[in-house]
């Protein structure tokens, strides 16, 4: 087990390395003048030269790549042009904010979707519940996440005034770590969190439904029925077995879903990593954009790792080697 985790960690590190290499090409090779995007405009020649050397931009492409990796390993993504401070100082507090909507959002979305999906999959084939469940889930899945955000914002914030639609706290609210435990914060959290849940739920629902439909005709379900346990319990067996394919299907979906949170952060002005990425790109603050992108990629790698380990916990047939 420990050896397996270590090996998976090593794999994850390899993937992160590959992602950084792709980033290197994106930020250095794609634009016509890579120095222009890494250095602020309006520097003196000496300052420019000094920065170029510090960033290793004076050597060959290979030297540049090595210097780039060296900086990354030391956690040095440079300084934000806009905030005029190291990018980590800008991004650290934002990571927590993103996780606050990402983790509960993904977990609740998966749980709610799986629960409804089980009910829909267990319903009579071709019946009302099945057909309406599939139809609604498919349509909701087709709603772009910013439309979900706009709808929630218009209905619950602008019109009904139940929830604030902007940021993470009212002016003058508690700051620092303690803020996460205030009612004001939870009040602000509600809408973006609901948006993530609605965005993530339908796909889980449909996958779970397929899984339950596939499993309900299996021999072992027949035996569970024969045992005379309540129907709810029989459905649970089908659901429990459907979670396995659900998790393998979610691997590729995670990259898209975590990415989707970017848009939700923008709609609700939620100060997270994704919003900062968009702001940095529009402000042409490339060191910050690069670091934010890197962070999101690492989150996806870690989420995949977690999904992999959860899978092993759920399926006794998996042997960690």
């Amino acid at each position: 087990m420990r050896a397996y985790i270590l090996r998976r960690l090593a794999q994850s590190v390899l993937v992160v390395w590959a992602v950084t290499t792709i980033m290197f090409f994106m930020f250095r090779v794609m634009p016509a003048d890579p120095t222009a995007i890494l250095l602020e405009r309006g520097l003196t020649d000496e300052a420019r030269q000094a920065l170029l050397e510090q960033w290793g931009l004076t050597g060959s492409m290979w030297d540049q790549y090595l210097a780039y990796l060296g900086n990354l390993i030391q956690g040095d993504f440079g300084s934000s042009f806009f905030y005029r401070k190291p990018v980590w100082e800008v991004l650290w507090p934002l990571i927590v904010n993103t996780l606050w909507i990402a983790i509960p959002g993904l977990l609740l979305g998966a749980a709610i979707g799986a629960a409804i999906g089980t009910a829909v999959g267990w319903a009579r084939r071709g019946g009302k519940l099945e057909r309406s469940g599939i139809f609604l889930a498919t349509v909701i899945r087709g709603v772009p996440n910013f439309v979900i955000g706009i709808a929630l914002l218009t209905i619950f914030s602008s019109t009904l005034g139940w929830f604030p639609g902007f940021g993470m706290g009212d002016p003058g609210a508690t700051t620092g770590f303690a803020r996460y435990f205030t009612l004001d914060f939870l009040h602000h959290l509600a809408l973006p969190l609901i948006a993530v849940i609605i965005y993530f739920m339908p796909e889980n629902l449909l996958l779970m439904r397929s899984g339950v439909v596939e499993n309900r005709t299996e021999d072992y379900i027949e035996l569970v029925r024969a045992k005379g346990v309540p129907q709810r319990r029989v459905a649970w067996h089908a659901a429990r077995n459907s979670m396995l394919p659900l998790i393998t299907w979610l691997f590729p979906a995670l990259a898209e879903t975590i990415a989707g949170i970017v848009v939700i952060e923008i709609v609700f002005s939620w100060p997270g990593v994704g919003r900062e990425l968009v702001l940095a790109v529009t402000r042409q603050d490339y060191p910050l954009a690069q670091a934010a992108f890197f962070l999101l990629a690492v989150m996806i790698v870690l989420a995949n790792l977690a999904a992999d380990l959860v899978y092993g916990k759920l399926d006794p047939r998996v042997v960690y080697k």
């Binding site: 992602v19 994106m26 772009p144 397929s210 848009v263 999101l296």
Partner: protein, 301 residues
């Protein structure tokens, strides 16, 4: 099995006939019919939309008193009202059909083509190609899609062509994996072995046996890719990173959002939102029907 291979099994079938069969099956699914109907209306509007548009999409409308006609609610001259910059909402909305469908179709065709080529090569021949492809997709699956698109489009420059390029780079990987696994199953079928034994070439087997049998999965993936592409373009435009020279629905929503008129100017917000929901949902309804087709265990017994 002592069955003698009959000639038909060795000859396989044409791509066209299996595509036709697949469409016929699709039409047996009520939800898919709804999807196809909506899609057909959207395609029609994409073709004739710009001619139906009463005004130039970016033309500033003036009131009779010579002032900018800002945020006018729907009325006889402006059926869907005007934007905060005095543009006619209906005209912008009608232009949006073409942009959405062009991005969706071109990107999906590119994604479909590349995924199929890589999926078939890697699944059918296996070996070195397969190893490289699988490692590549492993890495690609860890790249956050939209952030990649945001950065890449910002670096390459915000044009429709670049957006399509980025979408293609992003989405071929999932398709290649799905198609590869389908090819792996088809490759082991008994009729493929008969065909090999009967001396058929690899090209013949791929064209007559493999492709016709995975055509539903390719269709499924192309349909889903259209939806992903439209969603990605809309998201980029909504974030203000779209092509500034064309009007798209995402961009209309971006303008409404950033000018702070979401709450009041419903006539500006609802049409593009609704159109996006209808279009993407109709694609998902079609995609779902293909999913039920490709998974025999989901069929009703």
């Amino acid at each position: 099995m002592t069955q003698v291979p009959d000639q038909g099994a060795i000859r396989g079938r044409s791509l066209f006939s299996s595509a036709r069969d697949s469409f016929r099956l699709l039409m047996e699914d009520n939800f898919a019919v709804v999807g196809v109907a909506i899609l057909a209306i959207f395609v029609l509007l994409a073709i004739i939309g710009p001619w139906l548009a009463p005004y130039e999409p970016f033309k500033a409308m003036m009131t009779e008193t010579g002032r900018l006609n800002r945020l006018s609610p729907p009325n006889a001259t402006h059926l869907l009202g005007t934007t905060a910059f005095g543009n006619d909402v209906l005209s912008q909305f009608l232009h949006g059909f073409r942009v959405a469908l062009i991005v969706g179709l071109v990107a999906a065709l590119a994604v479909g083509f590349i995924s199929t080529v890589f999926g078939v090569l890697s699944g059918y021949f296996g070996g070195y190609v397969d190893d490289v492809l699988m490692r590549l997709t492993d890495i690609a699956l860890s790249i956050p899609t939209l952030p990649f698109a945001i950065v890449a489009v910002a670096l390459l420059g915000p044009s429709i062509e670049n957006i399509i390029l980025v979408i293609t780079i992003l989405f071929w990987r999932n398709g290649a994996r799905i198609i590869r696994s389908a090819v792996l199953t088809e490759r082991e079928r008994i009729y493929v072995k008969w065909a090999r034994a009967a001396g058929a070439s690899h090209f013949h087997i791929i064209m007559r046996h493999i492709l016709p049998n995975i055509v539903r999965i390719v269709f499924l993936w192309v349909t889903m890719s259209v939806a992903f592409a439209i969603l990605t373009e809309a998201s980029l435009s909504f974030l203000g990173l779209g092509d500034p020279t064309v009007v798209s629905w995402g961009q209309m929503l971006n303008t409404a959002f950033s000018s702070g008129n979401l709450r009041t100017a419903w006539w500006w917000v609802v049409p593009p939102s609704l159109a996006l929901v209808l279009l993407v949902s109709s694609l998902y309804l079609i995609g779902r029907a293909y999913e039920e087709q490709t998974n025999p265990r989901l069929r009703r017994r």
